[in-house]
């Protein structure tokens, strides 16, 4: 683990470079091993015995792993030249034909053979000259034997004819690929042609080498990618936590140099943001305070006036105070420092609903089982109250429910009102923005209710959304992430 941490501390640049070098080296090692330890490719040719068996109708595997099969044709195979023609026919052809005839025990005129020069690449794999030298050796070795065998029967041949050579060569010697044909008793021809080179065993071994290298590189890359991604993942997760709670402690500086730099920049930005929000909150708070002092004096001064003047003045003062409260609530929602405690969201929503029902508002609530989240109870209460307040104001009544999905908790506030035009659904969250309905009606809003609600939701890592319901009316949703 410690070693891993140490490696995690290297710059990403160095780690990537090391990965590339390691891949290169491992591929080279595999290739080198293949070159050193894989056996040589077996010769592509086949022996007279193989060809004879194939001609007799028994398919056979050659040494290089190919199948020799005889095909029956009406005409003798076109060997490129008429039999018995002068060179460039290969000098091996009559030897092969003779050996085949002996092996098959048929008259030579019923057998045709020709080295297949069309497969130049195969032809190269069996060195004809060395074959022929080998043959000469064989012949020399065996001639004595033949001579001994023939001594009793008749005259010893003085010249080694093709026939003698073929006699010796027919069993074991390997010839370059050749076409062989045998005339069957019914006059048709059995023909064996060199198999097409698709994938020989050699090819497969080479391919296996490639695959091994590829697998090795993929494994290496996978491991290295995980190692690289881990500190970045950790950074992203920590940044997300910070987004959910702006007052979370700063990120700790860990991981590769690049990530450490990003963490430092992130923390600095966070600190600036926090200071900015705090400054602004302080400013709004002091404005609110400075406004409320003269309002208080005014409130006490009008107390001595005639009741009708006093009451109307009191109502005006109350309205102004309401605006100040809204501005303060918004500022606080943005720059909250309230601590988070575990709380039951369902109970919270229920308590807000019950309290609001005391004022005679038409609100229904579906009882829900406890949903435990981490949050700031006062902020969330204000948030839910704002959503319900809007539904009652603009929709006449509110239907509230709490639902728990897999990784989030949703508080829904539905109203049967006129809903909102599509283009207003987002704009109503702007601070101090008011719809025409809100402006004209005696709803007394200041355009901060939804802005405040959203600020509080985002401070909890959640979101507030508005949507028109298919059946009519507006749906406001508070979505909060499930506690980790």
């Amino acid at each position: 683990m410690k070693a891993k941490m140490g490696r995690g501390g290297l710059p990403i640049f160095v780690q990537l470079l090391a990965l590339a070098v390691m891949c290169l080296v491992s591929v080279q090692v595999v290739n080198l091993a293949a070159v050193l330890f894989l056996p040589d490719p077996p010769p592509e040719g086949y022996s007279i015995a193989d060809a004879a068996r194939a001609l007799q109708g028994h398919p056979i595997m050659t040494q290089s792993g190919r199948k020799l099969v005889a095909v029956v044709t009406a005409a003798p195979p076109d060997l490129g030249l008429p039999p018995g023609a002068a060179p460039p026919r290969d000098p091996l052809d009559p030897v092969i034909a003779e050996a085949l005839a002996q092996a098959l025990d048929v008259p030579p005129e019923r057998v045709r053979a020709a080295v297949d020069h069309s497969h130049a690449e195969l032809y190269r794999t069996v060195d004809v000259t060395s074959s022929r030298n080998e043959m000469a050796n064989h012949v020399r070795e065996h001639t004595k034997l033949i001579i001994r065998m023939k001594q009793d029967d008749g005259p010893v041949p003085r010249v080694l004819t093709e026939r003698h050579i073929a006699l010796v060569m027919r069993d074991s010697a390997l010839f370059p690929p050749f076409v062989a044909a045998l005339q069957r008793p019914d006059g048709r021809w059995s023909v064996v042609t060199p198999p097409r080179p698709l994938l020989s065993a050699w090819h497969i071994r080479i391919l296996a080498t490639f695959l091994t290298s590829a697998l090795l590189v993929v494994l290496l890359a996978w491991f290295a990618a995980r190692l690289l991604a881990r500190p970045i993942h950790a950074f992203a997760a920590a940044a997300q936590r910070l987004g959910a709670d702006p007052h979370a402690p700063p990120l700790s500086s860990q991981g590769p140099a690049e990530v450490r730099t990003a963490v430092a920049a992130f923390n600095e930005m966070q600190e600036k943001l926090r200071r900015y929000v705090n400054d602004r909150t302080l400013m709004i708070a002091s404005i609110a305070h400075d406004l409320r002092t003269p309002l208080t004096r005014l409130r006490f001064r009008v107390e001595a006036s005639p009741p009708e003047v006093r009451d109307r003045a009191a109502a005006d003062i109350e309205q102004m105070d309401g605006m100040i409260s809204a501005a303060l609530a918004y500022a606080r929602g943005e720059g909250r420092t309230a601590e988070r405690t575990p709380l039951d969201l369902a109970a919270l929503v229920s308590s807000v609903v019950e309290d609001m029902k005391e004022t005679g508002a038409a609100i229904t609530f579906d009882p829900a089982p406890a949903v435990i989240i981490m949050g700031d109870a006062l902020g969330l209460k204000r948030l839910v109250a704002n959503l319900i307040d809007n539904a009652v104001k603009f929709g006449g009544e509110a239907h509230v429910s709490v639902a728990q999905a897999q990784d989030e908790t949703i508080v829904r506030v539905d109203d049967p009102g006129p809903g909102l035009p599509q283009e207003e659904l987002e704009r109503v969250f702007d601070p101090f923005y008011r719809t025409d309905a809100s402006r004209s009606a005696e709803t007394g809003g200041f355009g901060l209710g939804l802005a405040t609600a959203r600020a509080i939701a985002r401070a909890h890592g959640g979101e507030v959304r508005l949507a028109n319901r298919p059946g009519g009316g507006l749906r406001a949703e508070l979505v909060l992430p499930a506690p980790a």
Binding site: T293, R299, S350, A370, A377
Partner: protein
């Protein structure tokens, strides 16, 4: 105020001269002897010399702020304090009350509201012997009822919010444990101000409370006594 009792003395502490004037004038008109000072140093001197019955204390003051002064007065068993502050949010109120203020009133307040609070604080002081601190929370069976925040905490430490009706009802139960309370008694004790509650409403609130008090242990804290009412079946403590 009856004639034989001495006039209660009220000390107003506010850095704004206008506020000092209007408060002194208004409270004076309602039969109190009012003294107004600008900061807590003058406040301490006035308390030492004239022993006011109530202090109306502003939150934002030059020098020592109102909250610190309030905490100090509470610790030294000084006169009761009504905080009067431009910071009228729920959180501010809670902080003030938790630091020992007897009441917390946001600015701008209605003069009659201030008068009512002053009278209530004076009455409470007269009824309860001096020096007995007000309970901030009550406990029962692992649960905690925060009387300032009006919140309930489960034995697992989870905050369970209560509506004001539920809170008043639970408070009535917790302050009178193991006693049968009739619906009428509960209505009197727990009725939210200016609301018309019915017998049914009590039953509905009790079923909601039971649900919120259900921590899965199967214990029933609020028991029904057939034909009589309800009883709260748990030992309770004050803090």
């Amino acid at each position: 105020m009856s004639a034989e009792e001495p006039l209660p003395r009220i000390l107003v502490v506010d850095d704004d001269p206008g506020i000092r004037d209007v408060l002194a004038e208004f409270l004076g008109r309602h039969g109190y002897t009012v003294e107004a000072v600008a900061d807590t140093r003058a406040m301490d001197a006035a308390i030492d010399e004239r022993r006011p019955d109530v202090v109306v204390l502003d939150l934002m003051l030059p020098g020592e702020d109102g909250l610190t002064a309030c905490k100090r007065l509470h610790a030294s068993a000084g006169p009761p304090v009504i905080m009067l502050s431009a910071m009228g949010e729920e959180t501010d109120r809670i902080v003030g009350l938790e630091l020992g203020a007897d009441d917390y009133l946001p600015k701008p307040c209605s003069p009659r509201e201030l008068l009512a609070r002053v009278r209530a604080v004076l009455r409470r002081r007269r009824e309860a012997p001096r020096d007995e601190p007000q309970a901030l929370s009550m406990t029962f069976d692992g649960w905690r009822l925060d009387l300032v925040r009006r919140e309930l905490s489960s034995p697992q430490g989870v905050t369970v919010n209560l509506s004001s009706g539920e809170f008043n009802l639970l408070r009535a139960f917790v302050e009178r444990p193991e006693r049968v309370l009739t619906r009428d008694q509960l209505l009197d004790l727990a009725r939210p101000p200016a609301s018309e509650a019915f017998d049914r409403a009590i039953d509905v609130q009790i079923s909601r409370l039971r649900r919120k008090l259900d921590d899965g242990s199967g214990r029933e804290l609020i028991r029904t006594v057939r034909g009589e009412g309800y009883v709260f079946a748990a030992q309770t403590g004050r803090r």
